[in-house]
Symmetry: none
Subunit: 253 residues, 2 copies
């Protein structure tokens, strides 16, 4: 195994477990502790983990965002299936907008290496993930960055989306239903989502079934705006029918 591969794995382990320690890693990878120390130092230098005595802690989990870790694991399986299904909606070539959110991030991570796309996003983690993808022309939407979601919002973001037109938008919502439409807890973020919806010819909503019926503070659209909903099999047939009655296609991954 190559050093960078090992470091990548270590990073994964750190993020999954919230921490790693030198000796277990040495055992795990069948190398000496010195090598692990070197790896951790490299990751530390790259700003990905914070070195502590005996091990390391991934950055971003250091003092807050217990929320992110939790959400990452919540419904992981459903999200993976949804992301996989979403790949089928990627155009062979063209322009795609990717909203912020863990499910959309999985779609981004699953984009095949040989894909040739133009991608627009206001999500920092998604941009970071796609930045070295050889086939992707990446356009970053700027703005004030919200700590919680690491997504850009406000004037710059709104204006940027106002100036473009994309083939497909993959958008996430914290709550959706035929009655309440699409909602999210933050007003600024809702405004950006609304702008993104307006910028796309085709709107694909990615939301696991637990989001159905939920209603949050800020509304950014109705189900009518959505051409396709990709969700999991947890969405009841009646709810599915209700959504489809509004003209939205539904895929239950």
């Amino acid at each position: 195994m190559y050093a960078p591969e090992r470091q990548q794995q270590i990073l994964r382990l750190a993020r999954d477990g919230g921490r790693v320690d030198v000796l277990s890693l040495a055992e795990e990878f069948q190398v000496t502790a010195e090598t692990i120390r070197r790896d951790l130092k490299a990751l530390d230098r790259a700003g990905l983990v914070r070195r502590v005595h005996g091990g390391a802690i991934p950055v971003g989990r250091l003092d807050f965002e217990p929320d992110l870790a939790e959400r990452e694991s919540t419904a992981a399986d459903e999200k993976d299936r949804i992301a996989k299904a979403a790949l089928a909606e990627l155009p062979a070539e063209g322009t795609v907008i990717l909203d912020a959110g863990t499910t959309v991030a999985r779609v981004a991570a699953a984009i095949p290496l040989e894909a040739s796309l133009t991608v627009v996003t206001h999500s920092l983690p998604i941009a970071a993930r796609l930045a070295d993808h050889p086939g992707i022309q990446l356009h970053l939407v700027g703005g004030r960055v919200r700590h919680r979601t690491r997504a850009a919002v406000d004037a710059w973001a709104l204006r940027a989306y106002g100036e473009i037109r994309a083939d497909v938008l993959f958008v996430a919502a914290n709550g959706f239903s035929a009655g309440h439409g699409l909602t999210t807890p933050d007003l600024a973020e809702a405004a950006v989502k609304r702008a993104a919806v307006a910028a796309a010819r085709r709107v694909v909503l990615l939301a696991d079934s637990s989001k159905h019926g939920q209603e949050h503070f800020a509304r950014f659209g109705s189900l009518d705006d959505v051409d396709l909903l990709i969700t999991d099999s947890g969405l009841s047939p009646e709810d599915t029918a209700a959504v489809e009655a509004g003209g939205t296609e539904v895929v239950r991954a």
Copy 2:
């Protein structure tokens, strides 16, 4: 088999398997390891794989910054000292623009947790690093993202910098001297740097001494634009005097 065919095959193998190694490829294609190395170097230059000791990994498989980690090793010590010295130039509170570049990234990494600042940057890695910094209000400058530097450039970025005014800019340059001014290899990036310089009341140039006297394709300013140069002790006294003669303060960390 022709070289490009072989390289295409290698790329396929790399993407399928997630990794390739020099010796097996040499065996597989019945050529020597040198030839494989040349192929991998070509693929590396094309940005399709990332070269590692003993083999290569397809780009996109690692989500941490490859060339960043690599370039970290070059003059790492000087860069650390420069970054440390740069911290003294951070205002207690106010607005700071951070240019892209490894040295500036070190400054970003070294910003104390209790700092309370507004930071503007068009660098993806720097933004990612600061996104979860509790005291920092982060503003991301959007634009087309260059693969090599992971920095946003072009119209959106230029306009964003045209609309703001910051207290301090920390800027990097690939080459600097009293005669040739500040230069960098990429035109688009030079334009963004120029816009950033114009947006800042005080310009701090971070450049290790190896950059002095170098001249690259695109010029984005002269040393007159720079209020303070932070470099390392490798800058000769005469060169230092020449820079200072132009009215630029010099700190040799």
